[in-house]
């Protein structure tokens, strides 16, 4: 699993990458009440805002962690946003993408580096 400074996690499975937010991020946001997901098939660019998440307090964006194409989104989050608080690293993945360049993942943090960031 790889991590971004924006508190996203990325898990590579063959040529697809699954993306979610970390427990640290989910805890900081508080209970989510709304999730808006990107369109399947969208070509996204690194740092582009592609997901909207809202807690009772405030709205935030999740950015595309790398360049690529959205191939699947987790529609269960639309009906059940609090799944992000319950299982951020598992069932509450946000989208799957096909990276333009799988090697982009090499630039991201490993778990130890991420844990140092949030320590």
């Amino acid at each position: 699993m790889k991590f971004t400074e924006e508190h996203e996690w990325l898990l590579a499975e063959d040529d697809i990458v699954i993306v979610g937010i970390t427990k640290h991020a989910a805890d900081a946001l508080g209970e989510l009440v709304f999730v808006e997901l990107p369109e399947v098939g969208a070509e996204v660019t690194k740092d582009e805002d592609i997901v909207v998440i809202e807690s009772v307090k405030a709205a935030s964006d999740i950015m595309a962690p790398i360049d690529g194409e959205i191939v699947e989104v987790n529609e269960e989050l639309l009906e059940n946003p609090t799944l992000v608080n319950e299982d951020p690293l598992g069932k509450a993945w946000f989208f799957k993408m096909k990276p333009d360049n799988m090697a982009d993942l090499d630039d991201l943090m490993d778990e130890a580096a991420y844990n140092a960031l949030i320590a």
Partner: protein, 376 residues
């Protein structure tokens, strides 16, 4: 954050592991470890304790010794009937400006030989200077920075507070009483800002933490932050000064006409005589072009203050703006309020909000979103 002030409960907030944010010039708790959603629900289900010590507590004492002189002095600044307010009772009101706009909203109480006024924290210094400038000939004014203000809100607020002070059970909504507790005087009103039954309790600063601990020791009571205070008042249809009302909105536009009693209206015993009276009274007679209304987004997306409103899905002409909005935990869907053109303000009118480039349907809704549970 160095020039931010702290309330008397500051150390208790840190001890309770609050997340602190700047608000109205103070470092205030936005949430506790329970989190905004559970804090909101706990207040609706049991009792929530809020630190609202940032608010201004002002005493207006008539130099003549006659409370009617203080009442008439305050009436020169607010369009409310102060004279008819009986001893031990409180009312909602607002300071107006010469354009009929709202300088601040407030609660005022008749405490026998003086009036007690609670104003918003962010406005309190301006309010005090304004009152000082206009009514100090006839009244002594004092801002009680030496007192904290706690709010205990929720259906079990009475159960909790009567364990400490049994007499508060006899208070009705908007009653005010002075009650001794552990050697000091508490100034208690049966009121609040959540739409629930509850009390607001003014307590000497050095006794505030002790009183808070006595309440927090009870199973019913949890400490609640500003985050849940905002979602509670929003569901309750209550205005937040600076968002939903300000110097650019009049009480009539803000749908607060109910707070202007007959005596101050056209044809009343003491008609007008407050700042902006000509504008406000003519708006009461002739109507206004925009009105504050409740707004229920039809989808799941919360809509915050600043979101523009349109009559249909492709019109270029904006007909209103959301001034407060978010998710309502009790109603389980987004709730909002804002201003719309009067001819589009009827309940159940469908309008469109523009959110992230998309037009999404909203419906004009009755306020409050959650029924008020006051003890009448």
């Amino acid at each position: 954050m160095s020039d931010l002030k702290q309330t008397p409960l500051y150390d208790l907030h840190l001890e309770l592991d609050a997340k602190m944010v700047p608000f109205a010039g103070y470092e205030m708790p936005v949430q506790f470890p329970l989190g905004v959603m559970k804090e909101h629900n706990h207040t609706r289900d049991a009792a929530g304790l809020f630190d609202v010590s940032h608010m201004g507590q002002v005493i207006i004492r008539p130099k003549s010794g006659n409370i009617e002189d203080a009442a008439l002095a305050l009436e020169s600044l607010i369009p409310m009937d102060v004279l008819a307010l009986k001893e031990g009772r409180q009312r909602y009101g607002m300071l107006t400006n010469d354009q009929g706009g709202i300088r601040d909203d407030l609660m005022f109480a008749n405490r026998g030989d003086h009036l007690y006024v609670v104003v918003n924290g962010a406005c309190k210094d301006d309010d005090f200077a304004h009152m000082q400038a206009h009514i100090s000939d006839s009244c002594e004014l004092h801002m009680h920075d030496d007192r904290a203000l706690l709010a205990l809100q929720g259906p079990q607020a009475e159960t909790a507070l009567t364990r400490l002070i049994p007499e508060v059970a006899d208070m009705a909504f908007m009653d005010v009483r002075t009650m001794p507790y552990k050697g000091v005087d508490l100034w208690i009103s049966r009121s609040g800002y959540t739409g629930e039954d509850g009390y607001e309790i003014s307590v000497p600063a050095d006794q505030a933490t002790g009183l808070a601990r006595d309440l927090l020791a009870m199973d019913e009571v949890e400490m609640i932050g500003l985050g849940a205070r905002d979602s509670l008042r929003l569901e309750g249809g209550l205005c937040l000064y600076g968002n939903d009302i300000d110097t650019q909105t009049t009480p009539i536009e803000a749908a607060l006409t109910w707070a202007i009693q007959k005596a101050r209206r056209s044809g009343g015993d003491r008609e007008g005589g407050f700042p902006g009276a000509d504008i406000i009274l003519s708006q009461m007679a002739d109507g206004v072009s925009r009105k504050r209304v409740g707004i229920a987004p039809e989808g799941r997306a919360p809509m915050r203050g600043g979101t523009p409103l349109y009559a249909d899905s492709d019109s270029d002409t904006q007909i209103g703006t959301i001034t407060s909005g978010g998710f309502g935990p009790t109603v389980g869907r987004p709730v909002a309020m804002g201003y719309v053109a009067t001819d589009l303000s009827a309940k159940d009118t469908t309008l469109f909000a523009e959110l992230r480039g998309k037009r999404l349907p909203v419906r004009i809704a009755a306020l409050p979103f959650t029924p008020a549970n006051f003890k009448r």
